[in-house]
Symmetry: C2
Subunit: 594 residues, 2 copies
C-alpha cells in the first residue's frame, strides 16, 4: 500500500509537471461537497491511503501533506507512515493551514492547481486571495487524478426511489412551493441544489449512492417557473421518471447542468451558498445574472423537522431503543460465556436493528472501542484489529440505523467490571456535560458555539477536554451528519431553531487506557416567550439506559440526579411495552433511580 501511494504521487507529479503546476490540491470532497463519498469520489483515500472522513491533501513537486482534524490524528499517523506524506494537524498550534503551508514551501510565481468541481467558492476564493499575497497563482485545472487513476470506480448507478409520503410527511409540490416562497423573501428567484441530502429532502427521493447515506447523485434547479432534476437516466426507474414528469419536473442528464447554467436568463437571481457550492458552478453562471449569497433554502428547511416528522422520529427511537436494550442484555449474558470481540459487537448491534420494522441499513459503521480502542475517536473495527472483550473496564459503542421513519445515532459507554475512582469521576464528568446541554434553555438567536461550553465546563474545571464537536445535526432518513447547524467551539453562524435535531455527545479519551462518550439525540423545542425574548430548550429523543454503575453519585447536582432519574423512568415507560418479561426485568434494573 505504501509503495502504491508513493507511485500514485509520482504519477500525479508527472501530470503536474505536464500542466506546469508546482502543487496540486486534493480537497477531499466531491462536486456536491459531500462529507461521505461514493468510491468514485474518494480522491483523498486514493492519493494518500488515509480513509478518515475529513481532510485535504496537497502534493508539491517535492513534498506532500495531509490536513485532518483531531478525530483522525492517530489514524492518519498510522495510515500515512511510509508514504512520505506529512500529517498536518488542523487547528493545532505550530501546524500551518494549507494556504500558509503553500506560502512557506513555494516561491513567488508558483502555480497551484485544483479541481474547481471539488472546492467550494469560498474556499477557492480565500485560497486564491491568500496565495496572491505571496505572488502564487491558484489555477482551475479540473481533475488531474482521473488520468492516473486507471481502475477508478465508475460513478454510482444505484436506482433512486421514493420516500413514501406516509413518512416524508410533506409532498414535494408543497416543499418546492415553500422553497420558492423563501427564495423570493431572500431576493432570489432560483435555487441551484447541489447537496445530495438537500436534493433527497426536496424531492422526497432516496438512493444508495453513498454507503450509509440514502442519497443519490444529482443536481436540481428550482424556481417558480421550472423545476429541473439533473440525474443519470439509468438511475431513475421509468415509472418514477414518468411520475416526476407528470408533476412538472423536467428530467435532464447529470452532465447537463453546465449547459443549463450557461443559458440562464438575465432575469435569474440565483441563490448560491458559497460555502457549499463548487467553484465550477459559480464560474458557469452568466455574469448578467444576480447572485444572492446565502445558505441553500432546502438546507435550513430540511433541518427544521416538522411535527409529523418528529412523531416518526420518536417511533424510530423506540425501535432503536428496543434493539439497544436487546444488545445490552445480550452482552451482559454473553461475556465470559462465549467469545466476544469488538467486531462481533458491531455485528450484533446491526443484527438487533435489522429485526426492527422499516430498518433500511446502518447510518454509519459502528464504532466499537474496548479499553484503549475507546480512546481512538473514530476507531474503525475490523475482524483483524478487533480486541476480545473481557469483563474489565469500559466498552464504548457508537452506532445508529436508517429507518424509513428516522435516522438514529447513539453512543453509550458501559462498565464491564468495578471501576476505579478516576474512571467513575471521568464517566460522571462526561455525563454532567451531556445533561447540562440537555437541560439548557436559551433565547431564539442562540448559536451552537454559545452552547458548546455547557458540555465541557465540568471537564475543563479538571483540566480535561475532548478534541471534537459536541453536537451535529441529524437527518430524517438521511445523512447522520446534517447541517447547517452544529454545537461546537468552531464558529457557525446558524441559529439553533425549534424542530432541529442534534446530537449531544461530550466525551473523554484517556490515550492507551479507555474512551468515554455518552450521546443522546435532542430535538429543539419552543419554551416560554417573555419580555426578554422567545426561549427554546431541548427534548431528548434517544431511548437507551445510561450505565448508572459507572456514576459517582456525589458529583451530580440535585438537578442532574433528577434529570437522570426522570430520563430513565421515561426510557422504561416507552420501551417496556415492546419487550418480553425477561428484558423488562433487565431494563427495570438498568433504569433504577440513583
Amino acid at each position: 500500500m505504501k509503495e502504491l501511494i508513493r507511485n500514485r504521487i509520482g504519477d500525479l507529479r508527472q501530470k503536474m509537471q505536464e500542466e506546469g503546476l508546482d502543487a496540486y490540491i486534493i480537497s477531499g470532497t466531491d462536486p456536491h461537497m459531500s462529507e461521505y463519498l461514493p468510491e468514485h469520489g474518494q480522491t483523498r483515500a486514493f492519493i494518500s491511503g488515509f480513509t478518515g472522513s475529513a481532510g485535504m491533501v496537497i502534493v508539491s513537486l517535492d513534498q506532500a501533506a495531509l490536513w485532518t482534524d483531531s478525530r483522525y490524528f492517530l489514524q492518519a499517523e498510522e495510515q500515512l507512515a511510509g508514504t512520505n506524506i506529512e500529517l498536518v494537524k488542523m487547528r493545532t498550534a505550530g501546524h500551518p493551514e494549507p494556504a500558509e503551508w503553500l506560502k512557506l514551501n513555494l516561491r513567488k510565481g508558483a502555480v497551484v492547481g485544483t479541481d474547481e468541481w471539488c472546492i467550494s467558492i469560498n474556499q477557492f476564493e480565500a485560497m486564491q486571495k491568500s496565495l496572491a499575497e505571496a505572488g502564487i497563482m491558484l489555477k482551475e485545472t479540473g481533475d488531474l487524478l482521473n488520468a492516473i487513476w486507471t481502475d477508478r470506480p465508475t460513478l454510482p448507478d444505484s436506482p433512486t426511489y421514493e420516500h413514501e409520503l406516509k413518512y416524508a410527511c410533506t409532498d414535494r409540490k408543497d416543499k418546492i412551493e415553500i422553497v420558492c416562497r423563501e427564495l423570493e423573501k431572500s431576493g432570489a428567484n432560483l435555487q441551484i441544489i447541489t447537496a445530495l441530502d438537500d436534493l433527497a429532502w426536496t424531492f422526497n427521493l432516496r438512493g444508495s449512492d453513498v454507503e450509509c447515506n440514502p442519497v443519490f447523485m444529482a443536481y436540481a434547479s428550482v424556481s417558480a417557473e421550472e423545476i429541473v432534476l439533473f440525474i443519470e437516466g439509468k438511475k431513475l426507474p421509468a415509472e418514477l421518471k414518468s411520475k416526476l414528469e407528470s408533476e412538472g419536473i423536467q428530467i435532464r442528464e447529470y452532465s447537463g447542468l453546465i449547459e443549463y447554467l450557461q443559458h440562464l436568463p438575465n432575469t435569474a437571481k440565483v441563490r448560491i451558498d458559497a460555502d457549499r457550492t463548487n467553484q465550477a458552478i459559480r464560474k458557469n453562471i452568466p455574469a448578467a445574472c444576480l447572485i444572492v449569497e446565502g445558505l441553500s433554502i432546502p438546507c435550513r428547511l430540511k433541518a427544521i423537522k416538522t411535527e409529523a416528522e418528529i412523531e416518526h422520529i420518536r417511533e424510530a427511537m423506540r425501535k432503536d431503543g428496543v434493539a439497544l436494550v436487546e444488545f445490552l442484555y445480550w452482552i451482559e449474558n454473553s461475556l465470559g460465556k462465549i467469545p466476544v470481540t469488538e467486531y462481533t459487537v458491531a455485528e450484533k448491534l446491526t443484527e438487533f436493528r435489522t429485526k426492527q420494522p422499516g430498518f433500511k441499513g446502518i447510518s454509519f459503521f459502528p464504532i466499537v472501542g474496548y479499553k484503549e480502542h475507546g480512546a481512538i475517536v473514530h476507531f474503525h473495527v475490523s475482524e483483524d484489529n478487533a480486541l476480545p472483550i473481557e469483563k474489565n473496564g469500559f466498552l464504548l459503542f457508537d452506532s445508529g440505523g436508517q429507518y424509513l421513519d428516522g435516522t438514529t445515532d447513539t453512543t453509550r459507554t458501559i462498565s464491564l467490571s468495578e471501576l476505579t475512582a478516576r474512571q467513575k469521576s471521568d464517566f460522571t464528568l462526561v455525563l454532567k456535560g451531556m445533561i447540562s446541554l440537555s437541560r439548557a434553555k436559551f433565547p431564539s438567536s442562540t448559536r451552537g458555539y454559545h452552547l458548546d461550553i455547557l458540555a465541557r465546563k465540568d471537564l475543563w474545571q479538571q483540566g480535561l477536554n475532548y478534541g471534537h464537536g459536541t453536537g451535529h445535526g441529524v437527518g430524517y432518513f438521511l445523512n447522520v451528519h446534517e447541517g447547517p447547524m452544529s454545537i461546537r467551539q468552531e464558529f457557525n453562524d446558524r441559529m439553533i431553531e425549534a424542530g432541529m435535531v442534534l446530537s449531544d455527545e461530550p466525551a473523554l479519551y484517556r490515550l492507551g487506557e479507555y474512551g468515554l462518550r455518552t450521546e443522546n439525540l435532542l430535538v429543539c423545542v419552543k419554551d416560554e416567550s417573555t419580555e426578554y425574548g422567545d426561549f427554546l430548550r431541548f427534548d431528548t429523543l434517544t431511548l437507551c439506559p445510561i450505565d448508572t454503575k459507572a456514576i459517582e453519585k456525589s458529583m451530580l447536582t440535585a438537578e442532574e440526579t433528577e434529570w437522570l432519574n426522570t430520563f430513565h423512568q421515561w426510557v422504561y415507560n416507552e420501551l417496556s411495552p415492546r419487550i418480553n418479561d425477561e428484558l423488562k426485568v433487565f431494563l427495570k434494573e438498568q433504569t433504577r433511580p440513583v
Copy 2:
C-alpha cells in the same frame, strides 16, 4: 433641538443633491475608528441629536434612520422623537441592517455617499458588495457635514504628555522592538497605527483629546527602518518633541500621513487591520505594496498586560476600592438625613476618587440609576433628570477612574430597603452569572463568545436576559473599553489570553422598575497545563463589597457561596489597612460571610 436637527438634515440633503447622492451614510466614528470621540468628530450627534456612544445614521432624500444597539434603544427613542429620524434596532428581528435598509428604500442606479475617512475597510467593502447586488453604487465623497456644520468645534489641541516609565513599565524603544519582531513573524514589515489607544500604548504618551480617554489624535508608522509620528505640531511640547526625536522618532504633521503613504516603497509589506483602519488609508497605499491583513500588532500586545502592569493595576484597584467603600459608607449615613439625588451620587463617586493619589480623572461619566432609572442601561444622569433617592428599592452605580497606574470600572447595585422575593431572586441570578464567569477555567484557544453563556445561563433558565455584552477589555491608564477581545454573544475571533483584563458584568433590567448589574474586573491568568491543553482562568481585580442583604442565599451553590465569602475576606484584607476604624467596622459588616 428637534427643529435644529430637521434643519441640519435639510442642509445635508441639499448638499447631497449637489453631489448627486441619493443617500449619505454617517458612520458615527472618526478617522481613528474611535468609540468615544472629540467634539469635532461627533458627527452622529450633530446630525441626529442622539448622544449614545454607538450608532450609524443614514439620510436619504426623503428618509433618515439611526441604527443603535439595545443599550441605547430607550435613549434613542427619546432623543429622536420629533426629528423624523427612524430608530432601527440593531440585531433585532424585523429591523433591517443598514445595507438592507438602503436596498429596500433605493432604486437600482442609486448612488450612496460616505466619508471614506470614517468607515473601516471591511465595512466599506461589505457595504459596497451588498449594494452592488441591487445595482446601487457606494461612493467615497469625503465629509459632507463639514460644509453645513458652521460652528463645528476645531480639532482638539490639548498637549500630549509622557506616561512615566515608572508606570508604563516598558520603554517605548522596547515596545517598538517587540512590534517589529511580531510584524516580521506575520510576514509584514510596516505597521500603520491608527487607533488612538494603540498609539498611546506604543509611545508611552497620553493626551486629553477625548473626554475620559487619555488619548491624543495622531497616526504613526512603525518599521525596523523608521518610526514616524504624525501629530499636529502644537500638540507636542518642545521638550517632548526633542526627546522623541533624540530617540530616532520622526515627527511630522497630522495631515502628512497621506503623502507618506503614497510614497511607500514597493518593498513595504503593510500590516492593516481591515476592521479598524479607514478606507481612505487603504486607498492611498500604492498598489505595488503588499498588504498583510491582520489585527494591529500593538492592539493585541497592549491588551496583554505585563506582570508589572498588573501589579500597578492591583494598586489602582486598592485606591479605587477605598473610594468606593467611602462612598458606600457615605450613602448609608446620608440617606434620610440630607437630600441625595442620582446626580449627587455621581458627583460623590468622583469626589472620593479625586482624593486618591495618581487620580487623573474619571474613566467614563458615572451611570447612576435609582429604581426605574436603573433599567436604562446607559442612563446619563444630569441635574435636571436626577431622581431624589429614598430608602427604598435598588440603586445601581457604574463608575471608574483613570489613575496613572490603571483604569477602573466597577458596578454595584445596592438595596436601600427590604426587598421582595423577586428582587432578591433577580439580584442573585445576576450574581450567580458574575461568579460563574469569574470561576471559569478554560483551554487557551477559548474565545469570549464561548464563555458568555456562563454569565447568562441562570437568567435564561428563568426566561430572563440582558441585551448587552458581558465583558469588555479595559485599558491600562487608557480607554475603559479596549479591544480586541470581548466576552459577548457576538462573534469575535480573538482569543482570551493570559494578561488580558476584562469586565464581568451580567445584569437584569426590569423596565419601569429597577436595573441590576454587578461588575468586577478580571485578569486572565495561566492555570495548569495537562495533556488536554494549556488551561487559563481569571483572577478578580475589583475590590468592592457586594450587597449580601440582596442575596437569596438558598439559590447559591456551595461553590458560589464559597467564592463570595473568599472574595469578601480578600476585599477586607486588602482595604482595611487603608481606612479608618469607623470604616473598618463598616467594611467588616459589609464583607461578613453569608
